[in-house]
Amino acid sequence: MTDTLSVERLSVHYDTREGVLRALREVSLAVPAGQIVGVVGESGCGKSTLINALLQLLPENARIADGAIRLNGEDLVGASSRRLRDLRGREISVVFQDPMTSLNPVLSIGRQMRDIQYRDPVSRAEKNRRSAAMLARVGIPDPVAKLDVYAHELSGGMRQRVAIAMAALMKPKVLIADEPTTALDATLEVQIIELLQDLQREIGCSILFISHHLGVIAELCHRVVVMYAGEAVEEGPVEEVFLRPAHPYTARLIECDPGRLKQKVAQLPSIAGSLPDLTNPPTGCIFRARCDHATAACAQKPPRVELDNGHWAACHHAREVQI
């Protein structure tokens, strides 16, 4: 099985006033062709940095310290900006989290969709026809009329459908979805997920689906990567990881999922402690300070423990945790 997108030991640093913030440290993950891979982790775990790094749209104070990002085997780190612009939108595309702010407020939907097709030497009418067809595909009623509409005239769900239509318009090989359902209510969430699944099958693309919602990941994804404080701590097939987690952080995260609660509780479960300071990350295991399983061994950097079915966890005690 070939990987459409693979990230190899990627480290991203931000230069801040307090020093160098190590937002991503040796993150590796793979998105096989035609699969949906979820990335899950709490706020501040480096999900957004990962997306910006994949698109090579990091802010000015960020730099890729080490590692590679391969799209169909081609390393994006160090690729020319011309080449990157070539790939963006066509080979790799993205649906951002907040549809309120990710669409241009002063340009019509049709104009924005035509602009995305700027590389194609076809007439304006043909571009509009394709745009309307894609809008119809994502379930927008009266798509031709919607081309003249501005983002603020649409509801949140419609806006996110438009954003998905824009991302899918050029039939990319990899679609990154950055918490595309977070800003939406639960019924819309289901519709958007089904839509992404359908599109994935039709276009045959791979999807990297970023979320902090475990239920959504379980529903949609084939594989999942668990991130904590800038590191990938566990990766594997969704059922494997969620049913038999091998990293203590993943296990705690699943325990803390409010969706699992069967009855009313006075206080939602949480993981004691807080995220480590990434300008000065602790040596050894990054989760050690908050971990119930921590032993003296955890002062050393944990190895990547390979388990069954392409499932691995970065923990000294992975096999014990899994039982």
């Binding site: 749209l57 612009r85 963006r88 951002f96 241009n104 407020p105 002063v106 501005y150």
Partner: protein, 314 residues
């Protein structure tokens, strides 16, 4: 959009009414009155009183203001009693010159300012950005009458590139533009810097917006992203400021018209205030304020046209 437009027009009329009423009060509280200028220092008090009664100046202020608005409502701007001609004639022969001056200044300074601002934001901390920043503040700090005087001395007197006085030959467009060049340069200069600063700041803010990241993520060409997606949003505050800034330009125009001896509302107001020629003062003030309010109104409407969010919010 229609409701928005009507609201703005109503507000504009209210502003004109209040401003003119206040200005009338200010004008008649100035020391001296038309009688001192017209009748000279040796006129008898009786003659003065008769003259004042004849002009309606012996009434209380609020009555005078009411009478003024009554005349305006019937379409009469009054009579210029120094030269015995209708005020309307004096004002409307002066207005085109001032409009040409103000619009000339706005157009060149806005175009250059927007270009410099967008370029500075796009090339932040480059040497052009730094030079623009220093020049902007410098231009802003230079009063327009000083710029007018020095540009007159340099370009007209020393270098002899431009004419020194007047508005040019009637009917000869090129000659008119030639006469317009220096005055509009002088009063527009400060605006170049101002507009450049506003556009640069708005542009930097806009470039940080999510929809700009979206445009980049779809691989749109850099030029499209900067000059189409970002600049369209970033010029909105500048358009608003320019509309209101017409007021500032009108007062600069007073100096420029005096320095360059151009006919116009500015020199008309100056002459009529010095001569305590009340009807002409009020007539030209009314037109100047009306002009200013109209420009601010147009700026609002242009903004609404450029920003679709504005229209439905109204």
């Amino acid at each position: 959009m229609l409701q928005y437009t009507l609201q703005r027009i109503a507000l504009a009329l209210g502003i004109v009414f209040v401003a003119i009423s206040i200005l009338y009060t200010v004008m008649i509280t100035l020391p001296g009155d038309p009688t001192t200028v017209l009748l000279g220092p040796r006129a008898t008090p009786e003659l003065r009183a008769a003259f004042r009664a004849n002009l309606g100046l012996d009434n209380p202020v609020h009555v005078q203001i009411a009478q003024f608005w009554g005349r305006i409502a019937s379409g009469d701007l009054g009579t210029d009693y120094n030269r015995n001609r209708p005020v309307a004639e004096a004002v409307f022969s002066a207005l085109p010159h001032t409009m040409a001056l103000v619009f000339g200044a706005i157009v060149w300074s806005a175009v250059l300012g927007i270009m410099l601002g967008a370029f500075s934001a796009d090339n932040r901390n480059s040497w052009i950005d730094r030079v623009t920043a220093v020049l902007s503040v410098g231009f802003l700090a230079a009063p327009s009458f000083v710029v007018a005087l020095y540009s007159l001395l340099l370009f007209s007197v020393t270098l002899r590139w431009f004419p020194t006085i007047g508005a040019g030959e009637p009917g000869d467009i090129l000659n008119r533009l030639y006469h317009l060049a220096l005055p509009s340069f002088a009063i527009g200069l400060a605006w170049v810097g101002y507009v450049a600063r506003i556009v640069r700041a708005a542009m930097l803010e806009t470039l940080g917006e999510n929809y700009i990241r979206t445009a980049r993520a779809f691989g749109l060409p850099r030029r499209t992203v900067i000059y189409n997606y970002a600049l369209r949003v970033a010029i909105l505050p500048a358009v608003q400021v320019l509309g209101v800034g017409i007021g500032g330009l009108l007062s600069s125009a007073v100096f420029a018209e005096i320095v360059f001896s151009r006919p116009g509302i500015g020199s008309l107001i100056y002459d009529s205030v010095s001569g305590r020629n009340y009807p002409v003062v009020m007539g030209s003030m009314l037109v100047a304020i009306g002009f200013f309010v109209t420009c601010a109104l147009i700026a609002d409407l242009v903004n609404a046209a450029l920003d679709p969010r504005h229209r439905t919010r109204s």
